[in-house]
Symmetry: D2
């Protein structure tokens, strides 16, 4: 397992297991069975499915593989709740996940309780690295669950506000233009080399060379994005990658996802319902194509993932922006810069780097090795994380990845330039 | 309204309103909110949507149009629950009906109660013909709701049995080959001319000429269909209409919908779960293309709708097979011939006739005139009705219609031949 | 063969063979090899393919089937030039017909000469009914070839004029409004019962009943169509069949096919290039959906095929409008009413009737029986014919058929009404 | 222009212009007008289009931009023959390029002669860098023309052999297993820094760090590929990237493109017709997904483009394998290793690197800047080149790029491994 996951030492594993598993239930707390059943598009999954799939992961790779004689909660469910592990046999087609009114949300809560009970009792007999992997896996699905719920409720013309909005943050003034922070140059170390948990794709550690460059000290804001729109950014093919230009034509894209114009003003739909777009907040729900076009329009470019990681190493993420164990599971409104000069932890930030293996990368043996490696084509790396990201997943080496047209995740951008 | 609907005289209208509206709720009784939310394909709608749409029909064309000052239960719902009445403005796109976890099933039950209460109180001030139309409309949706629920649960690999099966009917012996009943010849009268309710497309009454012909005295059975399959019926292009052959190739169709082979035997999924195919029952869930190919293989043809109506006039439908007000709302298993010589009321029967207007047909004035006329292209007429059809909808003049490839309704066939 | 084709008595069969086959070559005369290779859409075929397929028909059903020892010109070509006869084995997929630069147009001319030579020498040993069928088949392909060439050149932004325009016809004045001609009522005879050739679907003769009605004495003109467009006809859903409304939305249809607006005036592209729309000509290249919507807008309806046939029986087609053997193969501009009161032979006229078998219809035995019967679903009947229709194919009993959305044929409409 | 193209010094530019332009005509020499008109798929273009588009490039960016008063050969052709330069206005939709039977191949030859005549006369007044760019552009289209013609003729069931096969090369014995050549490590220089022509994306020069690794001394052969197929390589999901597995399922891919099995043996269709697969030749016409899966099956990986370039620097390409000015334009059969230990110039070789900008990359100003930069998303880099590649395009720094599913180019692979 060493190449896949490095075990975490902080806190009792049993405590951590309880906390992470509990947070998933807390996120799902305000949902009806019907809310948790809908699949808004093929890329997304029902909340119920996330709750069951993460449980199936523990049931399969821990209880089944390490507890002799363990009988599955329901042997027919492996077909339903396997995501993409070809090593685990056939599975329900992904685009049909929204067809499952049964099992109900309550039955899936029972499933979770059943697996949690047995795992807690047997925790000392189970490989801690795999438990740690399962918890990190579950945390990824917590964020996916929030993304997918936003996509779900956004399909509803009634625009329901399922979570209360956070209290507004007092802001003194419009953010100043970003300042440019000069980055490191020459040979630099990259990749996770710590002692805690990291996904296999974050390593192995290796060196690369950075050219002279600078990064903006904060992400691009909604106000800046509106300026891009008003300058005709979505209508000028010279700003766009060829694939991106084709995509905005075909999909009639002219604003970030979840934005709509009403009575002359831009609004956005969020997990707290529909609200006016706040010009000071970091722009969110944009595709790679849009991020790239904006950067070109601004006379800048996107940072490479090495430039990003080099700047983030040693820095602390923004506090109080991420999903955590203590507070209510209520997601926060799209994150804002608030005048403060933040480096990361506000929104996922598109980089100019394709999601490809680091030198010497080797996936884990066995089925869990299907975790990251097989997705290494066609996707771009995002760094950072924000309001829907579990706190522990906001770290300098973390590599998130999506296709260039996707934008239902909480993704924005930070500018870079050669210097 | 005279061209659209003729009023019904049997029973108090208020009683009938209560009975019909109650049956819809009874049909939906075993459903969870999630069950009632799923849309299994663009042709079908969620159960919740049927319950709300039929209510919207009464709210819009009765309460809003005839009760001055009536305020809608929720003014945003018209957008959600209008089906296809262009005269009523924009509406939620049909293929996205499964995205609506809100309003919940309980809220829609409240909506029904609200509209029912006001309508009951005001019933004497409202046009009885429109109430009658609304009730017949609701009965159509009761059958659609059952069809759509079957399509929904069929998508679930767990094959849930939501309703109990009916007790098996004792059958003495395999049905004998069908007998041929000679039909009327020459000039015959057609079209609804009674005093009860009928849809506009059932009239006006008119004459047509019938050639010498005969009809089978019962529908084709599952056993006969299996013989067709075993004789290679799905693999011989000479039996098929050109469009039908293209369709079975593209869709890989080789058996009726909801059939599957397991351990060497054909099973079918139904509202009572998965069961062995009963060879004596009428075959069901076949497309027009399949019905037509079977008839060609059998050296026969499908009846025209005039031949069918001529034979059914004066006959009584099979008793005890249809959905009715008295019994449990529980749908029955796919209907069976049971050795008895039945004319109709067992399954919908594909005819050889396109759904086109009768001579002199004229749709009703206003929005309700969009009811039937605008669907008069590309569809074929079915006659009869069965286990999912409300009792009053099984009558000799009733014209049901579907596209030739559709088969999620309870549709079979009866053979005809020239004589 | 009796049910498929009745033999023709006029002129020597050998003369007629030469004339018909020669006309196909004359139609293709101005084409380059490249012109004859392009397939503009799946519904259409390259000119080269038409020339080869009609030859394959004679080679297969005459030379191969009746001349012992006949060796095919090239045995690999049957795969290429069989259209849809499943009885003749596998064939090249229809949508890929435009991929065949080889054989060249010259090679196909050689193929024609080869088959024509042998057939001419052996004509007395071959069944005349099948030769007659082959000639009628070829005539149908002459019209298809012109339709498909128009679709081909319409794809070329240079708008080439491959044929010269006919000299303009002097017209005194704008056509008067159509006059209504009262039709026959009661029991009337239909279907081909003559002694010449007719396709199987034109019979058998039978009786039907006509309600009181009247037909317009001429087709709808371009000027009338422009009035419909200017009145918002393409934007009012109440005028449209549901399928038609979906189709115009999806395809952005707002004018007849091949029309375009330039400098404020409507033009049409035709086989003689791009020209101003002539308001007096019969409107052409419209779908069934459009014809039906126009009729509804005009407070009228489309005639049934029985009404049409009843009026056309005994009448002579317009002279000088059809494709004939004597003149140049040059197609004429879209036909015009010219003030004269014409009944038919100007444009194909959509009827309100689905293409379904007449009572007692039975396709011919063997592969040629695939000719018409297997297309009897989903299509509507057109009657009449015009500038691209070979003269002998303009007769009262002729049933042409297309899907309701198709409009690359020379199709217009004539109004009818109940009276 | 400095960032886009560095001028070439070898030979007179006028001579070189004549030679390159002449080679395009020589490649097209055996084609009929129809051959040159077909577009076999949206990714490919007709030969006629390539001949015209390359001419349009010179006409537009040289004659029009630098010769005052130059009148275009046909002003309507810019719409037809602009490929993707948004700066040059609207253009004919790419998927409809096969609809243009007019202009004819002869007219396009006239167009070429016209432009060539004027350009030759004015060559001293025109910027040599742009001429050089135009020539390199034309050479790219020479290879595309051959790829697209192969795709065209492969659509023809007659499998025409348009070019003669080259004489067979005598081969002593089956190739030995590849030997591993250890690559450079540590900080290495990359990117074009020579004085001849290079495309903008080949620079700027920069440094990167290489990990210890080795490359195979030759590409993978057909015989090795057959071993992969026989070992079930196309049926084992564990070998495939997730996108690749989806792609082979959806497209039913189970062998290289243009391969087919007949009488128990694998054949391939090529520009010299259909032949048995030669096990010693380099495998060709495979996608990135297939290359990646093969490498994983072989316990190896694909090289990065830096590893590849580092090995190729200083090496000479294989002689006699590329398209050149002297010999007949006849393309050679798929290239073979012939036992000799070749480094590159045999087939394009997929690398593990995404096509992204080098540090400091900046596209040229103006419309020609649309050349490479806007394609920098979603594509992978290929290095090398072979039988269809013009000789001067086989150089160590050249970056070719295609989407991971594409395989109509002459693409194979070379293995790499960590060491």
């Amino acid at each position: 397992m060493a190449t896949l996951a490095k075990s975490s030492a902080d806190g009792s594993l049993a405590d951590r297991y309880r906390a992470v598993r509990g947070l998933s239930l807390a996120v799902a707390e305000p949902l009806s069975d019907a809310d948790a059943t809908i699949q808004p598009m093929a890329d997304a999954s029902p909340a119920k499915w996330h709750l069951a799939h993460t449980t199936w992961f523990f049931e399969t790779f821990l209880l089944r593989d390490f507890l002799p004689g363990y009988a599955p909660f329901d042997e027919r469910w492996s077909y339903l709740f396997n995501s993409y592990y070809d090593g685990e046999g056939d599975r329900h087609p992904r685009p049909r996940r929204g067809m499952l009114s049964r099992p109900s949300l309550d039955e899936i809560r029972d499933y979770r309780a059943h697996v949690d009970g047995i795992l807690a009792a047997a925790i000392d007999c189970l490989p801690p690295e795999l438990i740690e992997l399962g918890l990190n896996h579950e945390q990824q699905h917590q964020e996916l669950m929030l993304m997918d719920l936003l996509a779900t409720f956004a399909e509803n013309p009634l625009r329901p506000a399922v979570w209360e909005a956070l209290p507004a943050v007092a802001v003194g003034a419009t953010p100043e233009p970003p300042r440019w922070i000069r980055g490191a140059e020459g040979v630099v170390e990259f990749g996770y080399d710590g002692s805690g948990f990291a996904f296999d794709a974050e390593g192995p550690p290796h060196r690369a060379i950075l050219s002279p460059h600078a990064l903006a000290d904060r992400p691009v804001t909604n106000g800046e994005w509106i300026a891009f729109m008003e300058a005709g950014g979505y209508a000028d093919p010279r700003l766009w990658l060829s694939d991106g230009w084709g995509w905005i034509q075909e999909q009639s894209v002219a604003a970030p996802l979840y934005w709509f114009e009403e009575e002359g003003a831009w609004h956005r739909f969020g997990l707290d319902g529909a609200r006016l777009v706040d010009p000071d907040e970091a722009v969110c729900h944009i595709s790679y194509y849009e991020a790239d076009a904006f950067a070109r329009w601004a006379g800048a470019r996107l940072p490479t993932e090495q430039e990003w990681e080099s700047a983030a190493r040693g820095a602390d993420p923004l506090s109080g922006h991420q999903l955590d164990r203590a507070g209510p599971a209520r997601p926060r409104p799209a994150p804002r810069g608030e005048g403060l000069r933040d480096l990361f932890g506000n929104v996922w930030e598109w980089t100019a780097s394709a999601f490809l293996p680091y030198p010497g990368f080797r996936p884990a043996e066995g089925t869990v090795g299907e975790y990251n490696g097989k997705f290494m084509s066609g996707q771009m790396v995002l760094r950072g994380g924000g309001c829907a990201t579990p706190r522990g997943h906001v770290r300098a080496s973390y590599r998130n990845f999506f296709y260039p047209h996707q934008r239902w995740m909480f993704a924005g951008l930070r500018l870079a330039k050669d210097s």
